[in-house]
């Protein structure tokens, strides 16, 4: 008697050839679905963004903002680098800045300017038009956020203080105060933290002197009360908790260049073609994504606005 036996592998269990040939895409899609499952539930939280800090009044929306959805407030304020408070990216800056007093706060603007002076941060906020700028934020360590900053266009400040003909660069210095910044007692970095821009970069409409995020004043860990935001450059160019803005003739030597000149340059423009010696810059993790599957854009997607600044400059050498 012949008993009909099912074949070992049913035809229904055989992976269709076209799926098999695209197996890598399939694995990628599965991983992406896993990430998406996690992200979907974020939607409820995005509605109520903020940390209960004082709101900034009279903020104008800006056409320079991206339409991409902002990152979670909790993530932006609990995952960042601020070496004055803690080494490395994480929630160290948030944990170690709990008693930080950002007010009263004075910032000195001097050097090659017609009208130098010391400014109270709250006066600057009152006397200048505040704008909300939703910018992409790309860290040199290949992760990114979308952050709704609030700030004063740097060009407005520059117009007020009137740089002299000698001013070619602008140097930004973070406050030096071991009582406020615990890591300044160690030799983790050379203190105070210094950053710099060319004067034309500082004057660019995208360059922002930020005083808040998500409608509120800046929390300590994000650089309270006043910091730089230059969205087409890596995050470390945005010096935090500024004590001084100085207009100078010579190119400042920024802190990370001083620490490791083969890894960090003066320009630090976001550039997928120029890798960091220890990792690729071609792609990034748009947090909270688990995976680095997002292609990094030239000048962080602001190429149309800023590439004119670098005409004729070798960006591989001037990284």
């Amino acid at each position: 008697m012949l008993i009909k036996q099912a074949p070992d592998i049913r035809s229904s269990e055989i992976t269709p050839k076209n799926v098999y040939l695209r197996r890598r895409e399939f694995i990628q899609a599965s991983a992406a679905a896993l990430v998406a499952a996690g992200m979907g539930t974020f939607a409820d939280h995005v509605a109520a963004q903020g940390g209960g800090l004082p709101k900034l009044p009279n903020v104008k929306k800006s056409p320079l903002s991206t339409t991409e959805a902002p990152s979670l407030y909790d993530h932006v304020t609990s995952y960042n680098n601020f070496y004055e408070f803690a080494p490395g990216a994480g929630d160290g800056p948030k944990q170690n800045s709990k008693g930080f007093k950002a007010r009263p706060w004075k910032i000195k603007i001097d050097g090659e300017v017609a009208k130098p002076g010391d400014y109270d941060v709250d006066d600057l906020i009152k006397q200048n038009a505040l704008e909300e700028r939703v910018y992409r934020f790309r860290c040199v360590e290949a992760w990114s956020f979308v952050i709704p900053w609030i700030g004063i266009p740097m060009a407005d400040i520059i117009n007020k203080v009137q740089p002299t003909g000698k001013a070619q660069f602008v140097e930004f210095t973070t406050a030096m105060d071991t009582g406020k910044f615990p890591m300044q007692r160690t030799d983790l970095l050379e203190w105070p933290y210094i950053e710099g821009l060319r004067l034309d970069e500082a004057k660019h409409p995208l360059t922002l002197l930020a005083v808040g995020l998500y409608g509120e004043i800046l929390p300590a860990q994000n650089g309270a009360p006043i910091r730089m935001v230059i969205p087409w450059k890596y995050g470390f160019k945005g010096a935090k908790s500024l004590a001084r803005i100085r207009f100078v003739e010579k190119q400042p030597l920024n802190t990370w260049q001083k620490m490791a000149r083969n890894e960090y340059g003066f320009y630090a423009n976001v550039n997928p073609m120029v890798d960091h010696p220890r990792w690729s810059q071609a792609r990034e993790r748009r947090l909270p994504s688990f995976v680095a599957n997002r292609k990094t854009e030239m000048f962080n997607g602001y190429a149309d606005q800023v590439q004119g600044l670098y005409a004729g400059l070798d960006l591989r050498k001037n990284f």
């Binding site: 890598r24 694995i27 990628q28 991983a31 499952a37 996690g38 539930t41 974020f42 939280h45 990152s71 979670l72 909790d74 993530h75 932006v76 609990s78 995952y79 070496y83 080494p87 490395g88 990216a89 994480g90 929630d91 360590e141 992760w143 983790l188 970095l189 620490m259 490791a260 010696p277 220890r278 990792w279 690729s280 071609a282 792609r283 993790r285 947090l287 909270p288 994504s289 688990f290 995976v291 680095a292 599957n293």
Partner: protein, 212 residues
């Protein structure tokens, strides 16, 4: 059950704890609405977590011999293979995070990474060593390889050193954590050098004493 079997089960359970803690964090993240459970950068967090526990289990495996020599508790050897295999378990998870979270299955990126970036090169070399030790950790291989088995498994010293270098070259400015592992590995390997040379020292001292 023999006491050794019970102890083995307990050690096994303890060694699973870090992975279980991580799994619980995944659960809280995806089903508990706790979006900080894995930090804002889950990919990096999981990579660091599994890398750290790899170094921990390499160090724990390497402390079995010093423990036996110093306490005379030779039963400890019975746990060594399991602990070593846990080092391999965590390094495999660590490698997977690199494949999935860092390179997203892009083979060309991985190849470039291995050949271009020294910290990845040494990390991969350490993985290859741990892999060869894991697949030759069975009784069959021990019998088959004979004396060569021990020589091969001494490569774990190299893997430990490469692991520390891998971590050291990765950090940007703060070397606190890699330095901790460097000290641990230096002590564990230093003990072995001291133990090997000790008879010679003692003999020399004895010779000196007799001469006087």
């Amino acid at each position: 059950m023999k006491p050794v079997t019970v102890a083995k089960i307990l050690v096994f359970a303890a060694a699973c704890l870090p992975a279980a803690a991580l799994a619980y964090k995944f659960y809280r993240y995806f089903y508990g609405g706790d979006f900080n459970a894995l930090t804002a950068n889950p990919g990096d967090y999981i990579t660091d977590f599994t890398g750290d526990w790899t170094l921990a289990f390499i160090s724990i495996s390497l402390s079995i011999t010093p423990l036996r020599r110093l306490t005379g508790w030779n039963q400890a050897i019975k746990f060594r293979r399991m602990l070593g295999l846990f080092a391999f378990f965590y390094v495999t998870l660590h490698l997977l995070t690199w494949i999935v979270f860092v390179h997203y299955f892009e083979v060309s990126f991985m190849i470039e990474d291995v050949f271009k970036r020294p910290f990845i090169t040494v990390g991969m070399a350490a993985f290859v060593i741990l892999f060869s030790l894991a697949i030759t950790s069975n009784r069959f291989s021990i019998r088959r390889l004979g004396r060569r088995w021990q020589t091969l498994h001494r490569l774990v010293y190299v893997a430990a050193i490469l692991g520390v270098i891998h971590f050291w070259w990765l950090v940007k400015a703060d070397i606190t954590l890699p330095r901790r592992w460097a000290v641990a590995v230096a002590l564990l390997l230093g003990f072995r050098i001291w133990w090997t040379l000790r008879p010679r020292f003692l003999a020399q001292r004895r010779a000196r004493v007799t001469r006087v």
